[in-house]
Symmetry: C2
Subunit: 324 residues, 2 copies
């Protein structure tokens, strides 16, 4: 049950999000909120798309990484930062490290797209290739930490990351104050938990929904079970949403999200193409999950929701391998 007075027991609160907002303002884009009459007609509601595909490095991930890196003491920062990621967090941390002129060490599975590896290296980060398993990634990251003394900046389950991603919610609420609901995709839950913290504190009656791929539904299963369930053998085109919720993100999501609705991959691909064709903007499959949800029957059947904020989380796609 939501209770504002409980907020201090979570990993982040509205003040932390506001601090993050001031901290990242000189570096991150305040992304636009776009609307589309065609999508409104299809959804039967007014939709407000928060375009994090236009964020630096092409995804909201830069907000959290930027906040976490700027929060480090000079002494800690000087030792560098490390993470393991095949995707947007790797680029985000590499770029954030350049803001403090410190070294970023990125452990990347050999399965990562070459274009992403080149982008990370382009920001001056050192890439450590490893086998594409979580165990191999964590082992390699531990080695890097031992050798360099660099500090680990995890992709989502960290108070500074959650507060940074929460700025998405802060800006959306500022731009469209009278929303009835917000939808965000959920993978590890950094974005979703940050949005919860910001939006619910500003308007306790706002309704927060999460969209999750049916092929990576640990968050939906966790909500159903009332306890944190790990991701097992995820299989979805939404490659940004393969991870499990974490110990910091789960309690926030558990207490603030009304419902997690899953969507199959074919609806994700169709929603992605629809946004490209009608809105002329490029979103990645992980963003399209939220669009597919808002267009689906489960969400459409809910009453008393007229104005919906939809977070388009990123736009990093391999244009040589489109899913249609």
């Amino acid at each position: 049950m939501f209770n504002p007075s409980n907020m201090q027991r979570y990993a982040a609160n509205l003040n932390a999000v506001r601090d993050a907002s001031r901290r990242i303002a000189p570096h991150a884009h305040r992304t636009p909120v776009l609307t589309c009459a065609t999508l409104d007609a299809l959804a039967g509601r007014q939709l407000f798309f928060k375009c994090e595909n236009f964020q630096k490095v092409g995804a909201f991930k830069f907000r959290g990484a930027c906040n976490a890196v700027l929060r480090l003491s000079d002494e800690t920062a000087a030792r560098g930062v490390v993470t393991h990621s095949s995707g947007n967090h790797a680029q985000a941390l590499a770029l954030a490290a350049t803001l403090r002129n410190i070294q970023a060490h990125i452990v990347m599975p050999t399965s990562a797209m070459p274009v992403k590896r080149r982008a990370v290296e382009g920001y001056g980060a050192t890439v450590y290739p490893c086998e594409p398993t979580l165990a191999a990634r964590e082992e390699m990251a531990a080695q890097v930490i031992e050798q360099t003394g660099a500090v680990l900046i995890p992709p989502y389950d960290h108070p500074d990351i959650i507060a940074g991603q929460g700025t998405v919610g802060l800006e959306l609420m500022d731009e469209v104050p009278d929303l009835d609901a917000i939808i965000a995709p959920v993978g590890g839950g950094g974005l979703l938990s940050g949005v919860c913290i910001a939006a619910k504190a500003l308007n306790p009656s706002i309704r927060i929904f999460a969209a999750e791929p049916a092929g990576a539904d640990d968050a939906a299963r966790s909500m159903a079970a009332g306890r944190l369930m790990p991701q097992t053998n995820p299989n979805t085109i939404a490659d940004g949403l393969l991870t499990s919720l974490g110990e910091h993100t789960w309690p926030i999501i558990r207490d603030h999200v009304e419902r997690i609705i899953t969507v199959p991959d074919e609806k994700i691909v169709a929603a992605m193409r629809l946004i490209w064709e009608r809105m002329k903007i490029i979103i990645e499959p992980s963003s399209a999950v939220a669009v597919a949800m808002v267009l689906g029957d489960d969400f459409k059947s809910l009453d008393s929701i007229s104005r919906v904020g939809v977070v388009l989380s990123g736009g990093n796609v391999d244009l040589s391998q489109l899913p249609w």
Copy 2:
């Protein structure tokens, strides 16, 4: 030589553009102007992208069609409107006709993309398929006019169309008043001539450049010859720029455009992909011509140009057949 006092002899002037702006304001989008640090670095200049890919029907064409349809007398409008087009003007006129609840008759070559035909029919227009030759298109249009009494709204060589497209320049100058130059792509010249009329009247020292595909270079040849040269056997991926300049657009372009720079198709495709990847917006090849030009050596070698407006004319692409 440019001389403001000559403007009255052109098909449109600043007042006509301002009237068009007021007329279409309730119906057309005021499209955003986007910037991108990566593109600025590549161009060596500050670029301001006027995003007509976000316009209704996905291209600037709606502005001119809307202005022309709204200018018709009730009596004339009641007889309906007709045009022949395989592309964006067809959709633009079909949508504009719905604003006055009148019939649109669209002659389309059988080679037109099925998705475009469906879009036109979706707006309630009647489609007349014909052989994909200019002669067949004009003959079919003449038949429709004879049978229905509908009035022909040509795609570019018409004062109301030019004035309507000029609102792109009006908005760009309003948003970024201190531009040194504007670049627009040129096909039939409706957009380019409209931008000239608006921008040069507001700031006689602004420099206007046009970007043209090397495979459809009638405008560049006309400028070199000092007289209107027809398009012959155009062959370019920029399918919106296959047409020749017209008798209304040519004098405006001749007297106001500093230089027309041609770009080969491979640079157009590369520029299109670059914009998709870095700006996360979808532009069509005809828009990418202007991007390719601003990134090319010919334009880069020009002095005293710091702030450049670049018109992204449209974003209608067949996502099943991308050119890479």
